[in-house]
């Protein structure tokens, strides 16, 4: 939103395409776009800047320079562009453990997203687990909506968290956020060195087993909201052949990628939270419109926030014990029901994929990719179109030139 607004205010004709049903990404999903102050500010500016907005629209291919193909309902849209700004955000990292596929075991951000989309949570017992500052934000949000948050289990150690807290002291805005979180979370046990080892229940979740300091405890609950920090959504950038470094889209001081016509802002360039994303979005929006002086004014503030992002990265690393969580029969690839024992026989992503279909299902490795990277050290293959499952009819709607291209890339489409 910030990038689109600043680009349009600088004089460009701007279209904004969002896969979600409404604008605002994950943080301002659903009803939050109308309630959060900063969300309303950007929504108003976006509207006033006359940005064309399409939602529910999912990019799946890039058949030629300056054309993106996107699916919207049952239709395919051709999006012609001269310049692009990618703000594809991040998704949660999920790690497998026995019972993690039970209904009502969700991501931490996942459960929050459902509440934002209308799920009533009053009085429901919730255990929040995993790693990262998102756990606390989710706890505060759920508590505000009258959930009974039983505890927050953070796998990282007290020592690392204290060090993180000390770093926060350098950023006044973060201190304010931390203090308001502290009061929002009063009374909810926050337990470091703690992670879930099993989710139990017949057809859906009934209780969670957690491990804390070598001992286990069983907690009866309605939801387990479990996520292990965030991974960037770099698929479109990879489709466009932008340079990726250490898993993130590489950009210069103006958020420009290795392609002169493509800019990228927010989490795909480094996980750093809302404030950093908004700063980078503004810089990208000004820069894509050639308004470098306006972009430069925001660089110092971005630099400070970027340092915080580096601290985040270092703090919320995953402990090695989490690699031993899955049992031999724990499902790792949820789309194709491939369990740990079948995957552990292989030494690469590609070999495992070809033998078991892990990564070939609808999520195209978005869930099992980060999990297997952590469990086995594998690196997924390069991205190939379509980057989301697409109706065959929509693939067939391409121009004949593109159809030929597709057949060469995928080895034959029916």
């Amino acid at each position: 939103m910030a990038a689109a607004t600043c680009a349009a205010e600088s004089g460009l004709h701007v279209g904004m395409v969002d896969d979600n049903p409404g604008i605002g990404g994950q943080i301002w999903r659903g009803d939050t776009i109308n309630s959060a102050k900063e969300a309303k500010h950007w929504a108003q500016r976006l509207g006033a800047a006359k940005v064309s907005v399409v939602c529910g629209t999912r990019v799946f291919d890039h058949p030629e320079t300056d054309i993106l193909l996107a699916e919207r309902g049952n239709d395919v849209c051709e999006l012609k562009y001269r310049k692009l700004v990618l703000a594809t955000g991040a998704r949660e990292r999920f790690l497998p453990f026995p019972g993690w596929t039970l209904p009502n075991v969700m991501g931490a951000g996942g459960l929050q997203a459902f509440v934002k989309s209308g799920l009533p949570i009053e009085g429901k017992r919730v255990v929040i687990a995993g790693t990262g500052p998102l756990l606390l934000a989710v706890a505060a949000y759920l508590r505000h909506h009258q959930a009974n948050v039983l505890m927050v289990c953070e796998q990282q150690s007290w020592t690392s968290l204290v060090r993180f807290g000390v770093e926060l002291l350098r950023q006044p805005q973060k201190i304010r956020q931390a203090m308001s979180l502290r009061s929002a979370l009063a009374g909810i046990p926050f337990v470091p060195n703690c992670w879930p080892t099993e989710a139990l229940g017949r057809d859906s979740l009934e209780r969670v087993v957690i491990r804390r300091n070598g001992k286990t405890a069983t907690i009866v609950c309605d939801y387990l909201a479990c996520g292990f920090h965030l991974v960037p959504n770099t698929e479109i950038a990879e489709l466009l052949a932008c340079e990726i470094r250490n898993g993130y889209v590489h950009v210069d001081e103006f958020q420009q990628t290795s392609r002169a016509d493509v800019f990228c802002a927010g989490e795909p360039t480094g996980i750093g939270g809302l404030d950093l994303s908004i700063a980078e979005g503004q810089i990208a929006g000004f820069a894509v419109a050639g308004n470098k002086s306006a972009a430069k004014k925001l660089c110092k503030a971005r630099g400070k926030m970027k340092r915080f992002a580096g601290v985040l990265d270092k703090t919320f690393t995953l402990r090695t014990e989490l690699r031993s969580l899955p049992s031999q029969t724990t499902i790792v690839c949820r789309c194709e029901d491939v369990d740990y024992s079948r995957l552990s026989r292989h030494t690469s992503w590609r070999a495992a994929k070809l033998d078991t279909r892990c990564g070939m299902g609808p999520c195209q490795g978005r869930v099992c990719g980060p999990a297997t990277r952590f469990l086995f050290g594998w690196s997924p293959d390069s991205v190939r179109p379509p980057i989301f499952p697409t109706n065959l009819a929509n693939l067939g709607a391409l121009s004949s030139q593109s159809i030929t291209k597709h057949c060469e890339v995928t080895g034959g489409c029916a």
């Binding site: 049903p21 999920f94 989309s117 609808p362």
Partner: protein, 93 residues
């Protein structure tokens, strides 16, 4: 038998619409996603390739665990689709 869901108290009260989940009417507030209607009804969304019941996981359209049939079209990512009046949703089958 009907059931209700509503948004959090931050919002202005939205209109109420009715969808069906496996033939059962469910009344939801306008803006509620299909995934939430299915969750509220208490059924799973889909069966995995080996027959396990599955519910939504990521809430943002990347895991594909929330797929249900809507008005006869299968494999709809229900977490990314807002309920419309009269939608016929089949889930957990």
């Amino acid at each position: 038998m009907s059931a209700t869901s509503r948004f959090g108290s931050d919002t202005v009260v939205a209109e109420q619409i009715t969808v069906t989940v496996n033939g059962i009417p469910v009344v939801v507030a306008g803006g509620t996603t299909v995934a939430v209607a299915v969750l509220f009804q208490g059924t799973s969304c889909r069966r995995s390739v080996s027959g396990q019941p599955r519910g939504p996981l990521c809430g943002m359209g990347i895991c594909f665990e929330c797929r249900v049939e809507i008005n006869g079209t299968p494999h709809c990512r229900s977490c990314q689709i807002v309920c419309e009046s009269g939608m016929e949703i089949r889930a957990g089958e």
